[in-house]
């Protein structure tokens, strides 16, 4: 891995985004509108937005980044640009980290705008530090990027790539504790939920909602999400093959 090649790949992906302003607009506008909708739905219900808002603030960016990345990487695979790159002196980690940096930067912009709206006009409050909510949201978006990178290896077409989103993300959404607290899940499902990264992402925001200080549990949650992120990036790099059948 070299900084030059990783940086070149990251800025190339950002350039591609710059040429596609509508995609960038959607990346920011969709979660912003959805959070606004949530705030409106829960308006007047005592502190419900304070409870659900931070949790979903981490999940919407994850979904958006998952979709954008899996389609972008699939395009690299099908258009031959990935094959060409892999005949050149680029490390697989340069490619994967280049994407992570570019979409990580996009995720920071997205998280700042959306949480700015939530904490401002939408009136969301947390007991903990608001900037830590932004940190969790960015980490979640990066996790979405990393999962999208690895899942694109399983898809042969864009139709398939898009369908991996509900397949990978929706079960986590059901089990992460938003709908039913994880402790109240049937035993087997409770154990399954321990193996899913979104459980920890949601728990981290719950910690921020209900505690004024940084709890040990929050730090553990953040580390676990970071671990899942690194594992997903490594998995993504391992799905890139220089030789194909």
């Amino acid at each position: 891995m070299t900084w030059r090649r990783t940086g070149a790949t990251g800025s190339r992906v950002l350039l591609q985004l710059r040429h596609d302003p509508r995609t960038v607009g959607l990346m920011v506008a969709v979660p912003a509108v959805l959070m606004g909708l949530l705030a409106w739905i829960l308006h007047g219900r005592d502190h419900d937005f304070d409870k659900y808002g931070p949790q979903l603030l981490g999940i919407f960016p994850l979904v958006v980044m998952f979709l954008v990345t899996s389609v972008a990487t699939l395009r690299e695979r099908t258009s031959g640009t990935l094959e060409r790159l892999l005949t050149m002196p680029i490390a697989k980690s340069d490619f994967v980290l280049g994407y992570a940096f570019a979409f990580g930067l996009a995720a920071i912009v997205q998280a700042l705008v959306v949480s700015g709206l939530c904490f401002g006009p939408y009136g969301m409050t947390v007991r903990g530090q608001p900037w830590l909510v932004v940190v969790v949201a960015v980490l979640d978006a990066l996790l979405g990027t990393a999962m999208g990178l690895s899942v694109s290896a399983l898809a042969a077409t864009e139709f398939q790539a898009v369908q991996f989103m509900p397949a990978v993300v929706l079960p986590q959404l059901l089990l992460c504790g938003i709908i039913v607290p994880r402790g109240a899940l049937p035993n087997v499902l409770h154990w399954v939920s321990y193996a899913l990264p979104m459980s920890y992402a949601v728990d981290a925001t719950q910690q921020l909602s209900s505690h004024a200080v940084v709890t040990g549990q929050f730090v553990v949650d953040l580390c676990v999400v970071g671990g899942f992120l690194i594992a997903a990036l490594a998995l993504a790099a391992s799905t890139l093959h220089r030789r194909t059948p």
Binding site: R84, T87, R243
Partner: protein
């Protein structure tokens, strides 16, 4: 993967000095077909070799094997004495894929600058290749807005970026207008004269006359390894299309006689 680069090929003679490409008993199976079937050949440094044959005859698979992106089942490929796909070859071999592998949502210059950074070339290389493929006036246009032929040239320019010693070009001139095709063949001859080795594929038989040497492929095998003049002379044909037909019929007859 059945192919191991350190598999010793029995009695493999060292290729003579000045050999850029050395392929021995290469076999590639894709699905149920033998896309490349026991193919052997050598290419000398600085030569311009055409790889001709109909669509689906195995040209692309053979070229992918050379640049080390194809899983191969048997045989040995050495470029500059190194096994195909070795990391040390990644700056010495330029590869043009059949469909243009460049980013449609970047401009011509952005595409070339990115690939130049990956192979460690400066902005000078970008200007040079833009001139070589005659795209100097289109540099700020998104590649997705270009015509198919222009897109192929951007892709070709990318392959030329690092001034590689070996160029593997998969159908670089298909679909281009005759003037441009002539321009590119002149570029290929110039590069060969400067010491670059080129393997150029085409399914248009008439392009045979532009090479010094041609490998004729059909059904994964090399039917003939000859020069354009010799091919015409040996088949007593007037053009390359009919020479190729004569060759195929001759090969089919030989198989039939062997079977008897």
């Amino acid at each position: 993967m059945a192919f191991r680069k350190d598999d010793p090929v029995p009695n493999r003679a060292e290729p003579p000095a000045g050999t850029t490409v050395c392929v021995e008993h290469l076999t590639v199976v894709r699905g149920r077909t033998r896309a490349v079937d026991d193919v052997s050949f050598m290419i000398d440094a600085g030569s311009l070799v055409g790889l001709l044959g109909p669509s689906g005859c195995g040209k692309t698979t053979l070229m992918r094997s050379l640049v080390g992106v194809q899983q191969v089942q048997a045989g040995d490929i050495r470029l500059f004495g190194e096994p195909a796909g070795s990391p040390s070859l990644r700056t010495r071999v330029g590869y043009l894929t059949q469909s243009p592998s460049v980013y449609g949502d970047l401009t011509v210059r952005e595409n070339l600058s990115y690939f130049a950074k990956i192979i460690g070339q400066g902005p000078g290389a970008v200007e040079r290749v833009l001139a070589e493929v005659d795209l100097g006036h289109h540099t700020e246009v998104l590649v997705g807005r270009l015509s198919g032929g222009e897109r192929t040239r951007v892709s070709l320019a990318t392959a030329l970026l690092g001034s590689p010693s070996l160029l593997v070009l998969d159908e670089p001139t298909v679909g281009l207008d005759p003037l441009l095709r002539r321009h590119l063949w002149a570029l290929f001859r110039r590069l060969a004269a400067g010491g670059t080795t080129l393997l150029v594929s085409s399914h248009v038989m008439d392009e045979a006359e532009r090479c010094e040497r041609m490998l004729l492929m059909r059904d994964g095998r090399i039917l003939a390894d000859t020069s354009p003049a010799d091919l015409l002379a040996s088949t007593a044909a007037e053009d390359f299309e009919s020479a190729f037909v004569t060759l195929i019929e001759g090969a089919a007859q030989a198989t039939e006689e062997n079977g008897r």
